[in-house]
């Protein structure tokens, strides 16, 4: 069965806690780069939580916008890679091939959402922190681009399990780390090709919008507009 993976982010529920960021870092072998490097704007978060301010003090309100990779249907990043290190796979995901990347960083320049991050150094996990690394995916070398993959290792595992058991993937079986962790349940993941999945139902909501839609990237991440006012 052909899948159309998508993510729904309900901005009414997002509290900006950042648990999704931590979960993603833990799941995907993302290094902690330290304060100095973070000060140089080199954060390696595959999902980030944007914070915008609305209004002036003392009525200032923070608005949070979690931004994973949009897995654009017409991904501008795929086009410009000279070596096919990123391409569109059968599941409609934007796949990243680490060992093909030569580090031109053009894909990062062409991503309007700035979701792509670059390995500026060979990051090390000093013992015993190396025991936290997930064996399901690599540790990337310096000079290689990386980005959110919708936890493709979990998608693959679910596909393998379902194939072994001779069935289709059930709705809710594939849960990326961020979706799994989100305390208020703002993130939802599922298969839009399945007409009965929770995400298909959720995305009938009239609050839906996509980020920077005018750029024609056709993202797979759909946001649900924040409607509740201050003091909710």
């Amino acid at each position: 069965m052909k899948h159309t993976w998508a993510m729904a982010i309900d901005l009414d529920r997002c509290t900006g806690c950042g648990a999704c960021v931590v979960a993603c870092n833990a799941e995907n072998n993302i290094p902690v780069i330290g304060e100095a490097e973070a000060g140089k704007n080199r954060l390696m978060h595959w999902i980030r939580v944007n914070r915008y301010w609305e209004g002036e003090y003392p009525e200032a309100q923070a608005v949070y916008l979690p931004i994973p990779c949009m897995q654009c249907e017409r991904a501008p990043c795929e086009l410009v890679c000279p070596v096919y290190a990123t391409y569109h796979n059968e599941d409609g995901l934007n796949a990243m091939v680490y060992n093909r990347c030569i580090g031109t960083r053009y894909c990062a320049n062409n991503c309007p959402y700035s979701v792509r991050v670059f390995n500026w150094y060979d990051y090390k996990w000093e013992k015993p922190l190396d025991e936290q690394l997930s064996p399901d995916l690599t540790v990337r070398s310096r000079g290689v681009m990386e980005k959110c993959t919708f936890c493709i290792q979990r998608i693959r595992r679910a596909k393998e399990t379902a194939a072994e058991e001779g069935r289709e993937i059930r709705d809710g079986e594939v849960v990326p780390a961020c979706v799994q962790t989100c305390p208020p349940g703002a993130l939802l993941f599922g298969d839009l090709a399945d007409p009965h999945s929770e995400i298909t139902r959720k995305l009938k909501d009239p609050r839906r919008f996509r980020l920077m839609e005018h750029l024609g990237t056709e993202p797979r991440v759909v946001y649900l507009k924040r409607q509740k006012g201050a003091g909710r």
Binding site: E37, K40, N41, R42, L43, R48, N50, R51, Y52, L65, I67, P76, L79, V80, C81, P82, V83, Y84, R100, C101, I102, G103, T104, R105, Y106, A108, N109, N110, C111, P112, Y113, S114, R116, V117, F118, N119, W120, Y121, D122, S141, R142, G143, V144, M145, M212, L215, T217
Partner: protein, 469 residues
Amino acid sequence: MSTEAPRADDHHLAQTDETALFERLSRSNLVTTWKWYLGVAAAGAVLLWGVIVFLYMAMVGMGVTGYNKPVFWGLYEASLVFWIGLSHSGTLISAILRLTHATWRAPVLRGAEAMTAFTLMVGGIIPIIHLGRNWRVYYALPYPSSRELWPNMRSPLMWDAMAITTYLIGSLTFLYVGMIPDLALLRDKSAGGRRKFYSALSLGFRGTHAQWRRYHVASTLFAILIIPIAVSVHSIVSWDFAMAKVPGWHSTIFAPYFVVGAIFSGIAGVVIVMAILRKAFRLERVLTPLHFDNLGKLLCTMTLLWGYFYFTEFLTVWYNRNPEEWEVFSSYAGPYLPLFLTMIVCNFVIPFPMLCLKRVRRSVFLILVPACSIVIGMYAERLLIVIPSLARRNDPFIWANYFPTWVEFSVMAGAAAMFVLLYMLFAKFFPIMAISDIKERLFHTSDRTFGGTTVESIAQVEGEEEAHA
């Protein structure tokens, strides 16, 4: 009105002591001073430093540079555009002046063509320098790999690769073929090892009538071919930016704008190189104020053209106030104000009024002021194109400024030193003046008396049919 036509052997070449002319023009080959050794040593040292720093960067990671998210391209990529832009010098001088039969082109030809070839080599190395995994650059080559993968020709970087390769081969060929008669001359004038060297390089050219005819056709064909290649190369380099979804980059004007900017910086580069050659090799009588005057007039035209293109770009953004682009342009008044002012002042405010004055153009010292100013201004312009658009791109939350570190400065200094070194070595072993073209020009020039005044008359062979008449 009485005019006296000169007779066939009244031309200037017959009145010249050709041996003295040869020695004057070949001073760079025949005489080596301690200054040359010092220059080569200095350039070599800076190049070596650049290579060492580059290897350090390759082994430790690009984190030692100032790059960050979202400014993933910075000094290296701006320098790439700058060096490829400088390479349009020789193309303009050699090709266009050849095709338009500009009578003053001869002394400038070789130096400009050499500048093209070597700036292009520097520009061609930078795409390897700026990679995160330089040692895997061969992935971009179309070869049958064990992964059965091929490069992605949809990427503007692959267009870059094709275009720069073609232009490099073209400009080296252009330079070399242009040198063949001079190499034959050097062969005939030298002995021993040098004779063997020049013999091999001159490929057996002798100067028979049939050879000259075909040589002329080949030179013309090269000139005709190299111009569209040069235009396409810088258009393609501009498309590295114009194809991107980056505010301030995605503009249709980029291709002609970059080509104009390239020719602009190229001519300024030629002025500087010619001034240095003139001083270093005592070519005051060959590179005359007339040449700098004409180059200055071209430079003045290009100043206006560049100003016109830049104003057009600015006008459309200002008028439309598209928020994404407006944020980029607003940053020119903010953290990028110094760069912006440098660009405007150095590209237009200083050069234009100066180049309008004949006194400036005819003075080799004074014309260096606008020329150097333009080179600085164009470098600032390249930086201003690359950095603010990334630093103030679509998502305001991740905006960040960029400043290069000692690593980037060192590597780029090494690249500049590479150009200087290549050029100095070239001038030492190869004829830096187009001796045959200069002789040909003298051969065609005679003095014609118009009543009370005598004017230089330059013969022009327009076509084969007239010659047979």
